[in-house]
């Protein structure tokens, strides 16, 4: 059986969504399977146009910090979140959207980028995904 990495993307902060997608792509690139479970603030990133909407986890400075980090990333030629998500999907990465978060936050399926989402699920889905995973992370 192919080894698997399962990541919980709980945070919607820009830097942490970068981490989740880089790790997911990294796992796929090393020949593993990967799943990312988007929940709470992380789920906001699956909304249409929401991928890079989050603030920085530190030094956001009302958006000034985020602007500075983004311009530094551009200079360093770091891939955009859209490219990372598209690559993740192209390499067979799985995206799971948390149904409870949708209920709590009143998010409807049609507000989400449904072409990215493979499955809607809750804690049981995550546990079943993670129980035979080699790597599992909470971000």
């Amino acid at each position: 059986m192919t080894e698997k990495a399962v990541i919980v993307a709980h945070s919607g902060d820009l830097d942490k969504i970068y981490s989740a997608l880089i790790l997911g792509n990294g796992a796929l690139s090393m020949g593993m399977e990967a799943s990312i479970f988007f929940t709470f603030w992380g789920l906001q990133c699956l909304k249409k146009g929401g991928l890079g909407k989050g603030p920085l986890s530190r030094m956001n400075l009302l958006g000034l910090g985020k602007w500075m980090v983004k311009s530094r990333m551009k200079k360093a030629n770091v891939a955009s979140l859209e490219k990372l998500m598209n690559d993740y999907k192209e390499l067979g990465g799985k995206v799971i959207a948390c149904e409870m978060t949708m209920e709590i936050m009143g998010i409807k399926e049609e507000e989400l980028n449904s072409e990215w989402i493979d499955e809607y699920g809750a804690v049981g889905t995550y546990i079943m995904e993670a129980k035979d995973a080699k790597i599992t992370l909470f971000i």
């Binding site: 690139s29 090393m30 020949g31 891939a79 690559d87 192209e90 390499l91």
Partner: protein, 74 residues
Amino acid sequence: MTETNIDVRGQTCPVPLVECRKAIRKASPGDEIIIQGTHPASKKEIPMACEAMGIEVVEVDETDDKEWKIRIKR
């Protein structure tokens, strides 16, 4: 048998690894892929990924100080 060239010079983590993986998925057994890049960590990590997937690394050319070229065989 085909040969695919991938140019990831100037690209940073995780793009060289991802582009390599994409090319491997598209290749047929026996096909060769040549990846050219500048990202230092990927020079080590692409052969690591190939080893993990049981793919042969034919050659790692690092004659240039900043650039490397890796030839792999699906």
